[in-house]
């Protein structure tokens, strides 16, 4: 019994027909009827094919071939990009000559030119009247001056008439209140003057009372005597100078820390 796995493959069969099959594989044909039959049948088919009569082409065969040869000598057909250039009228003259020899490209190019002309002649449509007004109703103009702010306000007010009523109501309320206050003040000037004098007098009295209480409390402190003896005018001046210097140093340090990086530093950053 021959192992099925050892049968000749199609490639090995080809190699056997061409006499290239190694001896250790061709010896398989001596023991395997299946492979031998397949090999002999194939060889017979090839022999039969080789004996088939050669059919002659028609008389015009050569002319037809030459027609195609001259076509291919005309060059490659137009690419879409070249078609584009031709329609735009910027195709180099040597490529344009191809059209005279290639009816296929000529047909495509003519159709393309007509199509582009028709596309370019397509009309533009008009939106309905009032299109710009409808758009402008919903566009917020930027506020760059008092005049433009006023224009924007009037536009938005006109857009929503209810806003006008609301704004008029608020204005009337404020104006009415202001007018009433002014009228009352004009009629009661003595009351306003009296009230003002009383309030100023009260404020002065409260200020001096607070100062007297603060001073008395300070003098009662145990360290007050020593501090008063230590703070001579010279020491006070030196202390003030130190404080001013410390403040100036702090400001300079803070400015340096908060300064933006210079161009060199910025380039060095990743």
């Amino acid at each position: 019994m021959v192992d099925a796995a050892s049968h000749l493959t199609n490639d090995e069969l080809d190699a056997w027909l061409e006499g290239r099959l190694p001896q250790h594989r061709s010896s398989h044909l001596e023991t395997c009827d299946l492979c031998r039959t397949a090999a002999e049948e194939t060889r017979e088919v090839i022999l039969q094919l080789g004996r088939l009569a050669k059919a002659a082409p028609s008389i015009s065969f050569a002319d037809r071939v030459m027609a195609r040869v001259s076509l291919s000598q005309a060059g490659e057909h137009f690419s879409p990009e070249e078609l584009d250039l031709w329609v735009s009228g910027v195709l180099p003259a040597e490529r344009q000559q191809h059209l005279q020899r290639c009816s296929r490209c000529q047909t495509v190019a003519d159709a393309e030119r007509v199509l582009v002309m028709r596309l370019e002649a397509l009309p533009l449509f008009d939106p309905q009247p009032g299109f710009a007004d409808k758009v402008m109703e919903r566009v917020d103009l930027p506020v760059t001056s008092l005049a433009s702010a006023w224009r924007g306000f009037t536009r938005s007010a006109a857009r929503q008439p209810m806003n006008i009523g609301l704004a008029a109501g608020v204005a009337m309320l404020l104006g009415g209140s202001l007018a009433a206050s002014a009228a009352w003040a004009a009629a009661n000037q003595d009351v306003i003057t009296g009230a003002g004098t009383w309030m100023v007098g009260q404020a002065q009295q409260w200020f001096w009372q607070a100062a007297a209480i603060g001073t008395a409390l300070l003098e009662r402190q145990s360290w007050y005597g020593a501090a008063r003896a230590a703070l001579t005018p010279g020491r006070i001046a030196a202390l003030a100078a130190c404080a001013a210097l410390a403040y100036a140093g702090g400001v300079a340090l803070l400015r340096r820390l908060l300064a933006l990086p210079g161009p060199q530093t910025a380039r060095a950053l990743p």
């Binding site: 990009e81 159709a111 199509l115 370019e120 533009l124 449509f125 939106p127 919903r138 566009v139 433009s148």
Partner: protein, 200 residues
Amino acid sequence: MADERDLISATDQEIVALAREGREAAYRELIRRYERPVFSLVLRMVRDRQLAEDLAQETFIKALNAIGSYRPEFKFSSWIFKIANNAAIDHLRRREIDTLSIDGAPHATTAEDIEATALQVGDKGETPLAELEARELGTAIERAIGRLRPEYRSCIMLRHVEGLAYEEIAQLLELPLGTVKTYIHRARHELRDMLAHLRD
């Protein structure tokens, strides 16, 4: 202060500068210049006049309210076309999702709900607006454009109706230049095929 005649002869960049100063006339001049191109682009994308009107309005409102963030090194036309195209494409994508519910809303469980929420295909009344649309978009080439993929449609219109360069379209649609060229070539190829019967 520039008068209306100056605005008409001013460049887009000059008008944008005036708009940034809050000049309403400058805003109106930008709308006057671009309302037709923007509306036409959107109408050819969505193919519905009322919807195109709304989307074109949204485009201008969005652009003019953000005029402060517009970068003058780019063309204003490219900027506004980009906003308009995005609005149209977003709408088409949303509609594509809605179209999935043609058999009724997903939450519809009863037969009545399904019938009530189902898309009524073909029951559009022939309103004067629909008649106008049919007349405007009913020519062979308009119908052919309508059958293109939205991406091809916007590319072909930006290129041949608005006259933008390939590079501008690529920048505007945020697509590689090669992709834009391919879209336009394929779109033209499809249009040629669709219109071939007119040549015969």
